[in-house]
Amino acid sequence: MKRFKWLSFPYFVWLILLVITPIFVMLAMTFLSMNGMSFSKAVWSVDSYARMGDPAIYKALWNSLVVAFFTVLICFALGYPVAYIISFSKLRNKMLVLLVMILPMWSNSMLRIVSWLRLFSTDGLAALHLLGSNEAVIFVTVTTYLPFMIFPIYTVLEKMDRSLLEASRDLGVPAWKTFLKVTFPLSLGGVSSGVIMVFLPAATGFAISQTIGQGKVRLIGNLLQSVFEKNNYNFGSLLSIFVSLCIILAILLIIGLNSLVKKAKAKLASSSLNKGGNL
């Protein structure tokens, strides 16, 4: 492997030029005040930070998290059974079924969103007044990102050693308990990558909320977009960094909670055994 190390060089150049440098530029821009990207007329300022007190930011952020949370929940509830059924079916061509599932993704996502907009505003559906509601935004987000949940779960289930299930059966464990104790815990890797892959775009996207939400559903993405549209790159940078930090924090929180639960479980088990030892 060492011989091919140099092959990763282009990627590192790419990473430094297009990811790491911009982050530092953005960080610097939060302390400047200027019009658009005209660095020549920039002056030092903390105006951007003063604007962070606006409650509209936090409302939009909260709304984004709510929309993303329900999107993930629904995607999981719909996606897990589908992945499970396809993986454990005796179909000869599972890949074909999966291809059919992602068929809509072959068309442009903007087109799909606009077609939902048209559908929601035609006769019968228009009467339901779906446009402009959180629910409609969540629905369209789910239809857009569902495959991102199905694929990683399907992959881990497919890779799972089937003899584990036989072993569980051999040890006298009924199927539902085997699912809870063996299959599901072992598929958690796929679930967590599915959750992240759906959560991130659902929380930060703005196209769906703008089109389907008709300006009534304001997510953090919409806020960011409007700030950049007004040529305020300084506040925009600060807001972007803030949103990224929030999301990183949320992910760390989930991981932290997970390990805490594990530790607590281990503690509980050992303490119950210590009690047993007193016999």
Partner: protein
């Protein structure tokens, strides 16, 4: 060894048009190490999976202790499996892996095991423990087992009786102090024959007195202690903890319980897989090529260890392998399989020494197989030479295969040699030289202590007793009958699958004899079952001459009207006792007997047959 635990009858298994097993019959004895040996695709793993309940068969019966279990799901069978790649749960540590069955089985026998442990701890006598264990084995749900056990011990506990008596006393009248209920109490105690050493003051209250009395009674009341242990909420987890540690100790991995599965080596994973299976106390352990994933050195060590484990546990192991060395080293019984059929079944040494057909010989010993003809009585022609052989039950002109083991060829000087060959290769392996020689265009494998030069011409000798002959179309009867140590009884074939010997008529599976033909009936000692009750109804009756304990079972010699039979059984029978014997039809093997012992008519029919066969041969 007559105690059968598992029986497979007429099993048929197909995948689509592909027939894996067809009319497969096999019986397996208790406390034996049985190996299914065969090349891949021979049906050995399928058979194992049918026993384990992972595969459904199309036809046939599976009997455990004589009870059909083929419709039971795998979790209801007292059978556990060690999988080929171990199948340990990677999301759990070692302790949780081993505890998995005890914790999650809906028919978990945790309470059975826990109760037996407690009873042994408190010194209950074995008979009572066994009796209770038998009763509990019929109760399926752990909760019901728990309730039954609690009832059982409550009813035998003096403390619980005392509590009841005190309750009824308290209901009868209101007591103020000891002096007011002293007499009633002493009557009640006498009824329960409790002699209390406690003395109470006049103004002690009833609640205090009863508390003291209950405490005193409970102190020496084992049943009460058992009840209080079992009714504790943590009881199940405590039992699991003890059993898991016991299992870990058994597989020599003490102190590994908190480790992760991923931190283990192959050999350790193997042992954990065994521990996880045996902790459930199965009657039969199935092992599906468990050593194939290990390296050679470890594999050799694990063989001995597995064998040792089987002896210590005293349960039946059914082991599947394609490695003949493994099978030979570990097993009590080897079942050689090919194309879904049993080729030969017997002790390893019998299979090695007397393979019944070409397949077995080739699979077991890499023996030489020489094509030839049975051209004169006790003469075989092959390799352009005539050999003396011990076989005598073939027709003249029969095409044969002669099987000669590699080590049965002796290298000799050219002038006394029976056959001559040119050495093609000579390799040193396992302290022996493995030689391949070309004899008239046929390659012969030889094993020798001496080195020979490649290209050199060598002479070879082989003793008549070391040439095993097999007809090209062998009959099944002959295959099975070739079993050393069997009881050989002279009998007469009656026709219609019946044979008479020892003055009685028996059913047999053999159909290839002429009615009236004299035959030898062969019955293996372990296939004869003792009948101790209703002896008069048994077909064979005899008197025990002597009984010898051989380490695992008894060799019982029985005199039946002057004929001596050998019976192997786990039960002992006193000399002089009259007992009955029974044998199943598929365990009576018939062997051909030479012309000199046949009635004239049979000889005539045989000769006619031979003449026709010779004619047919010549026409070909």
């Amino acid at each position: 060894m007559a105690r059968k635990i598992l029986e497979l009858r007429g099993i048929k298994k197909t995948y689509g048009d592909n027939v894996i097993l067809n009319n497969f019959n096999l019986s397996i004895n208790e406390n034996e190490f049985v190996t299914f040996l065969g090349p891949s695709g021979c049906g050995k793993t399928t058979t194992l999976r049918i026993i384990g309940g992972f595969e459904k068969m199309q036809e046939g019966q599976l009997l455990l202790d004589g009870v059909e279990i083929q419709d039971l799901p795998s979790h209801k069978r007292p059978i556990n499996t060690v999988f080929q790649r171990y199948a340990l749960f990677p999301n759990m540590n070692i302790f949780d892996n081993i505890a998995f069955g005890l914790r999650n089985n809906i028919y978990s026998n945790v309470y059975d095991i826990g109760t037996m442990n407690l009873m042994n701890q408190y010194g209950y006598d074995e008979e009572e423990v066994d009796a209770l264990a038998k009763k509990l084995s019929h109760i399926e749900k752990p909760k019901e087992v728990k309730a039954y056990v609690l009832d059982y011990f409550k009813s035998s506990s003096i403390t619980f009786k005392l509590v009841e008596a005190l309750h009824s006393l308290a209901k009868k009248c209101r007591f103020k102090n000891y002096s007011s209920f002293k007499e009633e109490l002493s009557i009640a105690l006498k009824e329960l024959s409790i002699e209390s050493k406690l003395t109470f003051a006049k103004d002690d209250r009833f609640s205090f007195v009863s508390k003291c009395l209950i405490g005193e009674a409970a102190e020496n009341d084992n049943a009460y202690k058992i009840v209080s242990s079992i009714s504790k909420r943590s009881f199940k987890e405590e039992v699991i903890h003890t059993e898991v540690l016991k299992a870990l100790k058994f597989v020599n991995l003490e102190g590994y319980e908190d480790r992760d599965i991923t931190s283990l080596s192959g050999g350790q994973m193997q042992r954990i897989a065994i521990a996880r299976a045996i902790v459930n106390k199965p009657r039969i352990l199935l092992l599906d090529e468990p050593l194939s994933a290990l390296d050679l050195k470890l594999r050799k060590a694990m063989r001995l260890e597995l064998r040792e484990m089987q002896r210590k546990l005293g349960i039946t192991f059914i082991f599947v392998t394609h490695d003949q060395e493994e099978a030979m080293m570990m097993s009590d019984t080897v079942v050689v399989m090919n194309n879904g059929e049993i080729q030969q079944m017997g002790r390893p040494e019998d299979i090695y020494n007397t393979p019944v057909n070409r397949f077995v010989a080739q699979f077991i010993g890499e023996a030489n197989i020489i094509r030839g003809v049975y051209n004169a009585p006790r003469r075989f022609t092959g390799l352009n030479r005539e050999f003396k052989v011990s076989a005598h039950d073939f027709r003249l002109g029969d095409p044969l295969y002669a099987i000669v083991e590699r080590e049965d060829f002796d290298i000799c000087s050219l002038d006394i040699a029976k056959i001559r060959g040119k050495v093609l290769s000579c390799l040193f392996n396992d302290n022996k030289f493995e030689i391949v020689a070309d004899v008239n265009g046929t390659k012969i494998n030889i094993e020798s202590d001496d080195r020979v030069k490649v290209g050199e011409e060598i002479g070879l000798l082989v003793a008549p007793g070391n040439i095993y002959c097999e007809a090209k179309s062998e009959s099944k009867a002959k295959l099975l009958a070739n079993y050393e140590g069997g009881n050989i009884l002279e009998g007469t074939y009656l026709g219609n699958q019946r044979v008479s010997f020892l003055g009685a008529s028996f059913k047999t599976y053999v159909t290839t004899f002429i009615p009236g033909e004299v035959v030898d009936a062969v019955i293996r000692p372990e296939d004869l079952d003792l009948v101790l009750e209703d002896v008069d109804k048994a077909f064979i009756k005899g008197t025990v001459i002597k009984s010898v304990f051989t380490g695992t079972s008894f060799d019982i010699f029985v005199d039946v009207d002057g004929t001596r039979l050998l019976v192997q059984d786990y039960q002992n029978v006193a000399p002089g006792e009259t007992i009955g014997l029974r044998v199943d039809s598929y365990e009576v093997h018939l062997m051909k007997v030479g012309d000199e012992e046949q009635p004239k008519e049979i000889v005539a029919i045989r000769e006619e047959g031979r003449r026709l066969a010779l004619e047919a041969e010549e026409e070909n």
